[in-house]
């Protein structure tokens, strides 16, 4: 029977929803038994959340002060040691997983499969390339360990009704190098729903023209209980911080409803939203490529349309 080891992503207290999405992907690997590993300073709270995920049979915890912040250099050697007992080692295709998993793959002497969007057979997967302009079917070499990241936007989270998983603490012997040190994390603290998991997302583009003007996007989002995103152009122009970028090199998201406001719709942006349930585009340029993918399009001046929409929804 195949064994899958999934690396949990968390902030020390709360399991990131990316883990439950990866668990759905793992369930597509025929007959696989799924274990989750939690690296943390104190893994207890996160381990319980991971143990509740449907399909998980065991949670392995590694408690070490260095794991208070996720450093690939510290996690990788320990994860490699644990990987000896598994056929698959999975992580999310978030900045956490993208940073960590290739380091693990290289230490295990295998190539990594990045951004799994579907499992076709136990060693065969589909993944996007060229900003999603092509989907390639890839096959891992027979008999080799599979190290992969999962494109979380392609999967729904599994439920968390599981009561059968055990939690086991282990202490890997692998030495943790001291050459990499955490300094600080600056987060744009916000009460809004998290961009990567929000059911509704409102994004603004370059047409907002200033950081102040972005207020109308925030107002609309707050009226709808939505997360807020932005195009690369809006981030590059300094209207909003980097963590709001949606697209090929930013966040790949799949909300039920996505509102693209003043976003022209470069392919690099579209690749970040193509799994959204319904895409609404508001743009004054009727030729904008965003209208080619929008389910509902409205040609108009965002500075009058957006306040009107906010008013209509409040």
């Amino acid at each position: 029977m195949a064994n899958v080891l999934l690396v949990a992503e968390h902030d020390g207290d709360t399991l990131n929803p990316s883990t439950a999405k990866c668990a759905r992907c793992a369930a597509d690997i025929d007959g696989a038994e799924l274990h989750v590993v939690v690296f943390a300073a104190d893994p207890s709270a996160v381990a319980e959340q991971a143990a509740a995920l449907d399909g998980v049979t065991k949670v392995v915890t590694i408690a070490h002060a260095v794991h208070a912040h996720a450093l690939a250099a510290a996690i990788a050697p320990q994860l490699v040691e644990l990987a000896a007992d598994y056929d698959y080692v999975l992580g999310p295709s978030t900045t956490f997983g993208k940073d960590l998993m290739p380091r693990v793959a290289a230490l295990l002497g295998v190539n990594q499969i990045s951004d799994i969007m579907s499992v076709e057979a136990p060693m065969v997967f589909k993944r996007p390339i060229y900003a999603g302009n092509a989907i390639v079917t890839v096959e891992a070499p027979a008999g080799s360990k599979v190290v992969a990241t999962v494109r979380t936007a392609s999967y729904r989270a599994v439920g968390s009704e599981n009561a059968a998983a055990t939690i086991e603490s282990v202490e890997p012997a692998a030495e943790i190098p001291g050459h990499t040190r955490f300094v600080e994390l600056q987060t744009g603290a916000s009460d809004r729903p998290d961009l990567q998991t929000a059911a509704r997302v409102v994004s603004g583009g370059r047409a907002l023209a200033s950081s102040e003007n972005f207020d109308i996007i925030y107002k609309l989002a707050d009226t709808m209980g939505a997360g807020v995103g932005a195009s690369r152009a809006a981030v590059d122009a300094g209207y909003v911080p980097n963590e709001m970028q949606v697209g090929q090199t930013g966040k790949i998201i799949a909300p039920d409803l996505y509102l693209a406001i003043g976003i022209s719709g470069a392919i690099q942006h579209l690749t970040g939203i193509k799994d959204a349930g319904t895409i609404v585009a508001i743009n004054k340029d009727e030729e904008a490529p965003i209208f080619e993918v929008a389910d509902i399009g409205l040609v108009g001046d965002l500075f009058s349309v957006v306040p009107e929409l906010t008013e209509a929804l409040s």
Binding site: A73, D99, P102, A106, N133, F182, I296
Partner: protein, 249 residues
């Protein structure tokens, strides 16, 4: 520091809309404009700025592939790199084998810093820097948006999902660059002329004695699923009505 090594990958230009071949055997690259991977261009720009600040003395650019990759290396030299190395390989090399090739060049050149783009815009793998750092047993700082140096270490701000993370890594190290690290310079004509005289060494991959890694095979290519054409509405009231129809508000 003494040397900075910068990887430049030759990729289909950022502005080309890539299409899958009709027979599903790959993507159409015949006659398509090729360029330096944009993230690698940012890596080179950063290396040049570090050198111009007097914090490094030599910038070496390296590429892997056919002789065609000389074009991208010459562009790198015209931007300001001091010399170039082309590792000539069969057209397609898997990321782990590429990391092994880079490692063997590192063992010859002993750079203090390796700067790479965070991902190539063709395969979108986002692996090389991390793999190289692992094989080299050195630190990695991925997705960099700011880099400074002090006392043999680099302080790197990283663009992560939660915001901006800062880490400190001892040198030598591998740093991979994100979009907002800098804006690469334009190449001027006299620099292109000067670049023709700069050294460009070709090394055959066979001479490096690298063990090839078991590659992941690509068995089929397909265009992405298309979304169905939607509807256009004339005003906010119709938009709200359409959203209500779908049960979204």
């Amino acid at each position: 520091m003494e040397k900075i090594l910068v990887g430049l990958k030759r990729v289909v230009d950022y502005n080309v809309r890539v299409r899958v071949k009709n027979d599903g055997s790959g993507v159409e690259t015949d006659g398509v404009k090729m360029s330096i991977n944009p993230f690698d261009e940012i890596a080179l720009e950063e290396a040049l700025r570090i050198k111009e600040r007097g914090e490094a003395s030599e910038v070496i650019v390296i590429s892997m592939g056919s002789q065609d990759a000389q074009q991208q290396l010459r562009t790198g030299l015209a931007m300001g790199a001091d010399r170039a190395i082309l590792v000539e390989t069969p057209e397609s090399v898997d990321p782990l084998s590429r990391a092994r090739v880079l490692l063997s060049i590192i063992e010859r050149e002993s750079p203090d810093l390796v700067l790479l783009g965070k991902q190539a815009i063709d395969d979108d793998n986002n692996q090389m820097g991390q793999m190289l750092a692992a094989l080299w047993s050195r630190p990695q700082a991925t997705f960099a948006s700011n880099i400074t140096f002090q006392n043999g270490a680099a302080t790197v701000t990283r663009e992560v999902d939660a915001g901006l993370e800062t880490i400190e890594v001892d040198l030598p190290a591998v740093i991979t660059t994100d979009l907002r690290l800098n804006e690469p310079r334009y190449v001027k004509l006299p620099d292109i002329m000067k670049a023709k005289k700069k050294p460009l060494d070709t090394v055959a991959v066979a001479d490096l004695g690298i063990d090839g890694a078991p590659a992941i095979s690509e068995t089929a290519f397909a265009p992405p699923a298309q979304r169905e054409k939607g509807i256009m509405v004339d005003d906010v009231a119709s938009l709200v009505a359409a959203l209500k129809d779908k049960g979204l508000i």
